[in-house]
């Protein structure tokens, strides 16, 4: 395991203004420590690139600085977990829990994302240019998620707030037991979960969706008029014996 000082000494300072970290050579701990240290000692070295990821877990987690980080290659679990401020681009596919509990900033997955993408996210924007697997946006708490492809089953389970935009289709039990999150799906929805219903698209929703598509790098790929909105029927917000079969 390398300490930050060693990392700084060994890392190629920059390549074309980009600080490059070879994850296989320098190790996960050194990468994350260097990213965390930026907050205490900021510099103009804000462009970072992580190479040789080889599916490693917990790449660039807990970043709290306005950095622009490109991760070249496929990542394991929890890449960009709890991100604040940073823009993190995964030039490959992401493993489970990408951008979990993100607070702010932007995470872009060029490929597909595995389960639990954006789980419990509280802010910021997650863009998945491919498909996302099951439980996308599970328990989301304010994050915006834009998926250019389709999403798997149980997505937006217990989703509390924020927006989930899906240009493709949604799997079974979309939005089961959700609270106040807004779900926009262009394609088919295999089934809706408990207490999730289709809702009217009002002018403010078209407006919000247009903004989400623009920020989600999907402008021109889809038109807001093609989407349907889903949200909570709010029937399970209080216990009632007549709803017992839905709990």
């Amino acid at each position: 395991m390398l300490h930050t000082a060693e990392l700084t000494a060994r890392a190629p300072a920059t390549e074309g203004g980009v600080r490059v970290i070879d994850l296989s050579a320098q190790g996960l701990r050194a990468l994350n420590q260097a990213l965390h240290d930026f907050k205490a000692r900021p510099s103009n070295e804000t462009l970072w690139e992580v190479v040789n990821t080889k599916g490693a877990h917990a790449i660039a987690v807990g970043v709290d600085a306005p950095l622009d980080i490109t991760v070249r290659g496929t990542t394991g679990y929890y890449c960009a977990g709890m991100n604040k401020q940073a823009t993190i681009r995964i030039d490959g596919s992401a493993g489970p829990g990408v951008a979990e509990n993100m607070m702010s900033g932007t995470v872009i997955v060029e490929g597909d994302a595995s389960q639990y993408a954006g789980a419990t996210g509280r802010g910021g924007l997650l863009v998945i240019k491919g498909n996302a697997s099951s439980r996308c946006g599970i328990s989301m708490k304010g994050i915006d998620i834009v998926v250019h492809g389709s999403i798997g089953h149980m997505s937006a389970f217990m989703a509390q707030s924020g927006n989930l935009v899906v240009l493709g289709d949604a799997g079974d039990a979309l939005g089961d037991s959700l609270y106040e999150a807004r779900l926009f799906v262009r394609g088919s929805v295999k089934s809706l979960g408990a207490d999730c219903i289709e809702k009217e698209m009002r002018p403010e929703h078209f407006e919000a969706l247009e903004d989400l598509l623009r920020r989600g790098l999907a402008e021109g790929k889809a038109d807001p008029s093609q989407f349907r909105r889903y949200g909570s029927a709010r029937r399970l917000y209080t216990f009632h014996v007549d709803n017992a079969s839905s709990y």
């Binding site: 917990a58 394991g76 679990y77 929890y78 709890m82 489970p96 509990n101 609270y179 917000y237």
Partner: protein, 443 residues
């Protein structure tokens, strides 16, 4: 003579008055009974164990003169900054939401004055709690309400909650009466709803995922914080072994006497194992892995006195945690409030409708009028006193057993009063060398 011709009225053991009352209540309301607290059954417990004390073969330490240390290190396996506590009695996780802000403050004050830690709960970290707790453990729960990296970093340890003794396999519950504006904001929920927390973590399942989750939390906090894994008393041998395998620094095992803010009574009374049965299994898992004392074990669920502390530690725990007992020390269920309890249709000592938010003691409520009655400074002092007494009691017993540190207590210091307790605790039935389930019979 006619009175001898009729069978006297006879109540059914199976259909007791309590059972029938619950049937009638269910029929009238159509909803299961929800309550706070832990199991109220008479379970095999620490009361069924006794210390043997010193004798010719073991000599005692002099009370007041010879030292009996009580400190404990937690998180020595991987954390850069392990926790060092003066006493091995910690305060278990209880949420802001379930408890009032002043009650959380009092827990922080009392724990800090006594030299121990307190723990957040299913509602995030509050300023009054962080501000008044020298050592604060931040719970990482399935709901992730309020979870954020800044609080992870300003915590002194992180506790990943897999389950709790009152409801292994169940999620949290906070009913609408307690979802005030502040609680709703902290949890990002609509005000006044009946909140159901998830029972599983949203982004991992199983021990292999848990290992990766622990890695992520360590990376986010630069490997500084001890990471605890808390499990309900379901399968303590395997859960402890799997938590160790996943990389935990500390394992917390919570037996079924452990309390909850609110859940179904049927869950509390019928799922999970008594604390006494959990400890030896958890200790054996640690011993089998060569990790006993390397990974620390905290036991909770029904700890009330220094004797309970000493017994848990003699069975192999490194520390204990208290929740219900701490609330009683703060003033919960105090007979001085009997008139108020009567108005709620209950009586002091039996009040467990904490989820309704009408606690006359101002502890399990979000009603400003009610929690305004509670003095956090006085509450903190009472908790400190209680923790000090527990420590003195445990030291008294340890000295009598000839131990210069509470951690030196051992199963050989114990005997059991019942066959059940002997079997569960793995110590001999009093007056015999018989441990049920082990070779060799009674003599």
């Amino acid at each position: 003579m006619t009175e001898f011709l009729r069978t006297p009225p006879r109540q059914s053991w199976t259909f007791s008055n309590d059972s029938n009352a619950e049937i009638r209540r269910a029929a009238a309301t159509g909803i299961y009974d929800i309550r706070g607290g832990g199991s109220k059954r008479k379970l095999p417990h620490f009361d069924d164990l006794l210390f043997l004390g010193a004798s010719i073969s073991r000599y005692p330490l002099e009370g007041y003169r010879e030292k009996c240390s009580t400190d404990v290190w937690l998180g020595t396996r991987h954390a850069k900054t392990p926790i060092h506590l003066d006493i091995p009695v910690t305060i278990a996780g209880m949420s802001f939401g379930a408890l009032s802000g002043p009650a959380k403050e009092a827990l922080g004050r009392g724990a800090t004055e006594a030299g121990t830690s307190t723990t957040t709960g299913d509602g995030g970290m509050t300023e009054e709690e962080r501000g008044h707790s020298r050592t604060l453990v931040y719970q990482y729960l399935p709901s992730r309400y309020g979870m954020n990296p800044d609080d992870l970093r300003r915590a002194d340890a992180i506790e990943i909650v897999v389950g709790q003794g009152a409801k292994p396999g169940g999620g949290g519950m906070l009913l609408g009466q307690k979802i005030s504006d502040r609680v709703a904001e902290m949890r990002n929920l609509p005000k006044g709803i009946d909140q159901r927390s998830a029972c599983r973590h949203p982004d991992w399942t199983g021990p292999d995922d848990l290992e990766i989750k622990i890695l992520e939390l360590r990376e986010i906090t630069d490997w500084e914080k001890p990471i605890y894994v808390k499990v309900g008393g379901a399968r303590p041998y395997y859960d402890t072994a799997l938590a160790v395998k996943a990389g935990a620094d500390v394992v917390v095992v919570d037996g079924m006497q452990g309390g909850t803010a609110a859940t179904q009574d049927v869950f509390i009374e019928n799922v999970g194992m008594p604390t006494l049965a959990c400890i030896p299994q958890a200790v054996k898992a640690l011993q089998d892995l060569g990790m006993h004392r390397e990974v620390q074990l905290i036991v909770s669920g029904g700890i009330r006195s220094g004797a309970d502390v000493a017994k848990a530690m003699a069975l192999g725990a490194d520390a204990v945690a208290i929740g219900s007992a701490a609330l009683v020390a703060l003033g919960d269920n105090d007979p001085a409030l009997e008139e108020d309890y009567r108005k709620l249709g209950t009586t002091a000592g039996a009040y467990d409708d904490w989820h309704e938010g009408r606690d006359p003691a101002g502890i399990t409520t979000q009603d400003p009028e009610l929690y305004g009655r509670f003095d956090p400074v006085l509450g903190g002092r009472r908790l400190k006193n209680y923790l000090k007494v527990m420590t003195l009691e445990a030291q008294t017993i340890a000295r009598a057993c000839g131990k210069s540190h509470l951690h030196n207590l051992e199963p050989e210091d114990l005997c059991a009063l019942t066959i059940e307790a002997a079997a569960m605790a793995g110590v001999p039935l009093a007056g015999t060398s018989w441990v049920p389930g082990r070779p060799g019979g009674p003599f």
